[in-house]
Symmetry: D3
Subunit: 225 residues, 6 copies
């Protein structure tokens, strides 16, 4: 399940704040909120046969996430869609593509935690790559991680943010144990999600999934329920 470098991505064009550049020239400022504190929200989109899967739902969640973090301004769906379109066109991509769409709080005038230092609008990053499905259809192996999902009074799991260290630590445990991914529990010890995605339990004639208390409101999750 370890992703490999795909040669087709060697010369992709990346969009950072509207600037389209070769991936090796793409520049996020060290003053950007994402670099300074993971202060960003994001969505993973898939382009299949010229269409982005459930784009509307993803943009709605991106907007809810950004608002929950009190971003001053958030681009409209039309503006974001146009940037995605420009980026895909620059790469002549139409199928089999994964897009890492990131919206950061923007560039700060000086290093610091205070959002009032963000005096220019948010930074939109469109990162498209040719990428086959990450999970095999044959299933994956999971460990239960000792790392827990953050409780809602630390960081609401409904926000799809870029503070991923808890999940990365869980993923490292899975790597060490030779498993594909890690199941993560909430603070009370109940199953929440894996380090990367929602989890469903299918038994004879029934389907169950954790309530969305310690896991994101997955787009697919809503569809299944």
């Amino acid at each position: 399940m370890l992703q490999q470098f795909d040669e087709r991505n060697r010369d992709i064009i990346v969009n950072v704040a509207g600037r389209l550049t070769h991936r090796d020239q793409a520049a996020v400022s060290p003053f950007d909120s994402a670099v300074q504190g993971g202060d960003a929200v994001w969505e993973g989109l898939r382009l299949h046969d010229g269409r982005i899967f459930r784009l509307t739902e993803h943009l709605a969640r991106l907007r809810r996430s950004a608002r929950a973090l009190a971003f001053e301004t958030v681009p409209t769906d039309e503006e974001i869609t146009e940037e995605i379109r420009r980026t895909l066109a620059a790469n002549a991509m139409t199928d089999g593509v994964h897009i890492r769409l990131t919206l950061t709080r923007g560039v700060k005038v000086t290093s610091g935690m205070d959002p009032r230092l963000n005096q220019s609008g948010p930074t939109l990053i469109v990162l498209p790559e040719y990428k086959p499905p990450v999970y095999a259809a044959t299933g994956i192996t999971l460990i239960t991680s000792s790392v827990r999902r953050p409780p809602p009074d630390c960081l609401d799991p409904k926000i799809h943010h870029a503070n991923l260290l808890s999940s990365i630590l869980a993923k490292i445990e899975a790597n060490v144990a030779g498993a594909d991914d890690a199941l993560m529990l909430d603070q009370r010890g109940f199953v929440a999600e894996t380090n990367a995605t929602n989890v469903f339990c299918a038994t004879a004639g029934a389907r169950a999934t954790p309530t969305a208390t310690a896991c994101p409101e997955g787009i697919k999750r809503v569809r299944v329920l």
Copy 2:
């Protein structure tokens, strides 16, 4: 207490992965772990009269933090010190300077959470700015935030990492209430620290500070105790 832009910083030279460039050209890759997940550790250093305050302690904590996050390689103190020296020299800075020293897990070969995608070493960012002390000597006003510090089974508070959203949300509460900073509690409801620094309680003849269970092991904290 809101920091202002300092004109002396308009043309500073920034060091990203050894490349010294004007701040406006400084480029962190969108594939960098810091951008993708706040997957980085950092220290705030102060240069005073040609010397960096407690550099050895700060580098030791940076190293402990990086190891706790299982960074594959960490540059030596000598290597880091040399990069700091080069950067300060390029700016001809000798006094009144704050350095945001960041070490990210490095650049990924493709978007994704898995640290095994980080196939090139960590990224060191040296960001020096002229900056007066942030806190006034006359004291600051605090609110108690409703946002709690993450518990150790989510993200060990002893790691000085760049997943700052909890603290940023607390800071936003302080801003809204018109206070300078926010006191943050741990999961049990005890005082942990402010959104930005350790907290001490001085009463007649005694000095107290929270045990380091939900707050970083501040350099100054160790000195005071």
Copy 3:
């Protein structure tokens, strides 16, 4: 939203344990359980056009609350209703009235926590005042308080009791921040209620409210669901 003194209430008649007196002569004993430990239950009633809104439901909740606190005896609905009627008649009140109906565990034979020291029955207090609706129809502003609702193993939130300090502390935080009221979270960090009332979340086509785990079973709450 700060209530003002209403001149019509200057000479109201108050009922304490059946004695009808001018408000300035109304006497609760310092040996009363309410004074000693907030050891009382209460309801807020509204008299509109000669009728008390949902009186039956309020008296049922008052009774459940008193029983949950193991009050030895609780007056019947008829007895309580008669005392309310006498009090309203003494004040010639028929409309626009709020009644603070309190039932304490009664007067103790000596200071102390032990309910066995309450050797005379409960004390019923009927406190009617002319009072316009407290909340403006245009909505209110809320902060999220750092003070949490008590967990059920400390004091069951389904009991409508007179130990209001947690709520008062949350209200003080709201006052300091210039907001109308404060949203309070439960021990896990989920929204419970405001310091004064149940909270509902209305989004397009749906209505949600916290489960009654850390908030009272509001009379209106039951109606809405």
Copy 4:
């Protein structure tokens, strides 16, 4: 251990807000914060041989408690001491006396939780009674209550307040089980205190007591440690 009515207390004089009256005439207003929400702090004092045991420490704790609850004004030690003196003189009491000293947030202009409705200063209540020591020297029996002490984010246990319902519920459990008092645990399940007092554990050559995280800072507790 059940206290009995002491005939010497039948005609004691009680002090409510400076008014000295027979106990049967003592009048706390139903608008008083103590009646409405247990919104008061208190101390239990003992008069022995003309002197009040550790009066200074008790008044200091009363003041700390009132300040933690943000009472607008608190009488000085001198003012409180003078009211105690007047009350004892009126009763000609010099020995074997317990004083329930209560300071409420004061009388509200109208029913309601908001402290801004308390437009006249705090109410001081001095309630002196002849009372032998409550606990027998031969020891007491304890059960462990299922009721827990409130966590610090609900109501700081260091505040010696009059929201006693948790303790009263624990005492009821002890009564039902035929024990003298109840041991109470904190939220994590560790011993905190009894429903009425600090607890110490004396083993061969050592003495232990819970850290003051979920119990008041007992005056005697500080002396013993």
Copy 5:
């Protein structure tokens, strides 16, 4: 409700690992996992009029429990049913019988916690006794225990295991208080179950029971809901 010794059980035949012996000769090895760590699962069955009540459901739960504890092998329903049949036949029992059916992880080659030391299959114990219903139809008295149900991250309450000390401690509290059984709470302070069985709350026209988060999935529980 205290069970008495029933003379009809003086010479019953017990089945341990397939060996049928008089109860006084029945031998569980001190190397057995049940003896060393309560490392076993069990079911309580009732034989009524020649039939075992809901045997299929009980065996399914036994199997789920054993699998959740990672027992290497679990006998088939047919094998277990045959051992039960043999044991009942040896005792000529057909009615009014309670069977304690236990499946341990088996006998270890040496003392120790490691399941890899269990190199011979699980041990099945069939313990049939004449036993009238334990609970009177007239109802039972309950206290609320101070002992809590283990949280799911210690030991999943859905596993019907033989680590009964928490429940035994709760039962001791009930015995001391003179009650029949004890109500047990979960870690948050909500009602979970009694020390021995699921609990239902029947009010006018409604029936409620705790969600199966801190209590076993009772066979009867599923039927009632």
Copy 6:
């Protein structure tokens, strides 16, 4: 670190309730509390050169554990020591021996949780085996288990009991991951102990170990501190 069967133990004599038998005949009753609920306490002793290491401390802890579980009677140190002596003599063991010393609540008159069904005294089991040290001097590898130590309100970790399922589940996680043992956290997420022993942290010039809140009071632990 997986223990192997030691041929010298093939014919050891085991002591169950005073009866000395070959290990294959040793018989613990299926009515014994250990079998029914892991309702037992135990100590691991080491015989070296004719002497048992810290026997007095181990017996004192065994007694404290049994009392904390409210065992009706506990044999004296002399009685226990004599049973150990008899068993060692029957095996002619003098060195390199590990003794699993177990004290159960005894044999019940009928299946059931109630300790009042234990009408005959406790059962002492002395299980001596030749056993080299389990841990290599070169160190062991640890994972951090997702299984937590029980909180004190479920089962006090200071009791050295035989409800080992939490630890066994953690050990299984270690086995699956290929590690020697598992580090276990307490409910708050702090390090408690391994599944089998206390843990110490040795850094330059200092030694640390968790406070004994979620781990047994190890005999060695006390010596080191």
